[in-house]
């Protein structure tokens, strides 16, 4: 009973919590091109004078306000401009809000506009419209520094409840997708993927895929196992996101998972949006690790350039090797790493080196702990 009360108290406090959300500024930058890609066909048709109502569309409800040509076309082009402004961080609040509004409005204009990847994109857009994401990596921030005279790093504390909500949504997307496949015997048994492989067999061979590979993909026994692997991967990613200790592994698995989907299937903007969405799992704390470098060390310039999520405080000292003061251990004790361990830990937490460095660090630590075992 008391543990339930503790849990409720914990979540009650979480709703009011604030944190550093600068990582979502990177998500904001990535979402601009994804929105343009999502609207690409709509732009092309509008350039030819064709809008949604000129061809078959399927309204959800009679009462939903439909923009006529005179209004829809300016709204559409404004959304393109807003998406660019959103990425650039110019009038960020307005740009993110309008982009989210238009993408949502357009999706609900017609049932034929709906696709799961678009709903997923809309959820991300609403998140960055609610959370302030213009204080970093933005024209707005540059203007503030240039004309506002402030050189101090801006504070980016914001309420975190929208972040918790979008995390819930992302977990739901993976779980719901996986659950629907588990309870579908055709999916779980491999039939769906096998038929897809058979349908795409000739196209794959013509596109240069080896015949043995296409034969393997079209094989029912292979697909019986592969389907289970695919579904369980979705569950592993979703459940892995939920716990801090497994989160990095989940992100690490999600990257090749979405890259392979992008290669093997036509999923519109889903792969790009899902890869960009991995950013929401960055811990909303800034500068919670301190990297101490020997004076003049090249990492002194490289780390601030690559540390897009603001995880490291970089300091210089009269020392011989790199030192990383990591986040405190569970018992509050200081965690100090040095030399190769410090560098690989740091590389495993930078977005561009994470995917390669994280497994290398894991192997290194496993070997080291093996060597420490008494004979």
């Amino acid at each position: 009973m008391s543990s339930i009360k503790d849990r409720l108290t914990h979540w009650n406090a979480k709703i009011d919590a604030t944190g550093d959300v600068r990582a979502l500024s990177v998500l904001r930058i990535l979402l601009g091109p994804i929105v343009l890609l999502h609207l690409e066909d709509t732009f092309r048709r509008a350039a030819d004078g064709i809008i949604y109502s000129d061809r078959y569309y399927f309204p959800y409800a009679d009462w939903y306000p439909e923009a006529g040509r005179g209004l829809y076309e300016p709204m559409l082009w404004a959304a393109g401009i807003a998406a660019i402004a959103m990425s650039a961080g110019f009038m960020t609040r307005l740009a993110t809000s309008y982009t989210a509004f238009f993408v949502g409005y357009n999706i609900f204009l017609s049932k034929t506009h709906f696709a799961h990847n678009r709903a997923f994109l809309l959820i991300l857009l609403i998140t960055i419209a609610i959370i302030p994401t213009g204080r970093y990596y933005s024209v707005d921030a540059w203007i503030r520094r240039r004309f506002g005279g402030s050189t101090a790093e801006p504070r980016n504390e914001a309420p975190l409840w929208p972040l918790w909500l979008v995390r819930f949504e992302i977990v739901v997307v993976y779980c719901s997708s996986a659950l629907s496949k588990v309870i579908d015997q055709d999916w779980w048994g491999g039939r769906v993927l096998q038929l897809r492989a058979i349908d795409g067999y000739q196209q794959g061979v013509d596109g240069g895929a080896p015949v043995w590979l296409m034969d393997m993909l079209a094989d029912s026994t292979f697909q019986w196992w592969f389907s289970k692997g695919a579904v369980l991967t979705e569950f592993v990613i979703a459940l892995g996101f939920l716990h801090r200790r497994t989160r990095l592994l989940a992100i690490w698995i999600a990257i090749p998972f979405h890259v392979s989907i992008q290669i093997g299937a036509r999923v519109q903007v889903f792969s790009w949006a899902a890869l960009a969405a991995l950013i929401i799992w960055v811990t909303p704390k800034a500068r919670d690790r301190t990297l101490v470098l020997p004076r003049g060390h090249f990492l002194g310039r490289a780390v601030p350039l690559l540390d897009w999520f603001g995880r490291f405080e970089v300091e210089h000292g009269d020392i011989d090797e790199v030192v990383l003061i990591d986040r405190p251990a569970a018992d509050g004790a200081e965690v100090r790493r040095s030399g190769g361990d410090a560098i690989w830990t740091m590389l495993s937490r930078l977005p561009v080196t994470f995917w390669f460095a994280a497994p290398a660090l894991l192997i290194m630590r496993t070997r080291r702990s093996g060597q420490r075992q008494p004979a």
Binding site: R55, Y56, F114, F120, F168, E169, S177, V192, D199
Partner: protein, 137 residues
């Protein structure tokens, strides 16, 4: 919002388009349709013949532009055929220069994840055909 999302996931199991249900790539089903215009005197005319309109000018996207060619069912058969029924109705209601067709009818052949083909008939809403009345002065 949490409750709304979970509700939409449950409701999606019994809906055509599974809006916000996130059931990705549910099937490898296929479908194909032969559409005819049924004139008020009962004459059946394939839409590719002798019509003021072209289907693919009116219906694009979601794999609906060339229904006579067998296609993968985008997001499953229920989703695809739900859109197709909507397309038949929309075309019937948005072809004012057609003064002879009473409704559109389609013979749809679908295979549900490789099972034997099933053929069903889809029909659009009835059209109100404007008859021209010549008035002698």
């Amino acid at each position: 919002m949490v409750v709304a999302q979970l509700t939409m996931i449950v409701v999606a199991y019994d809906s055509d388009h599974k809006t916000f249900g996130f059931q990705m790539f549910p099937e490898s089903s296929r479908w194909q349709a032969e559409i005819v215009r049924v004139e008020c005197d009962g004459t059946r005319v394939p839409i590719g013949e002798d019509w003021e309109y072209r289907w693919w000018d009116l219906v694009r996207g979601r794999g609906l532009a060339n229904p006579s060619v067998e296609h993968h069912a985008d997001s499953g058969l229920r989703n695809q055929l739900g859109y197709f029924q909507g397309a038949l109705d929309w075309v019937a209601e948005n072809t004012p220069d057609d003064t002879t067709t009473c409704y559109l009818e389609a013979e749809v052949t679908s295979t549900d994840n490789g099972r034997p083909p099933v053929t069903r008939t889809f029909r659009s809403v009835e059209r109100t055909v404007a008859t021209e009345v010549e008035v002698d002065s």
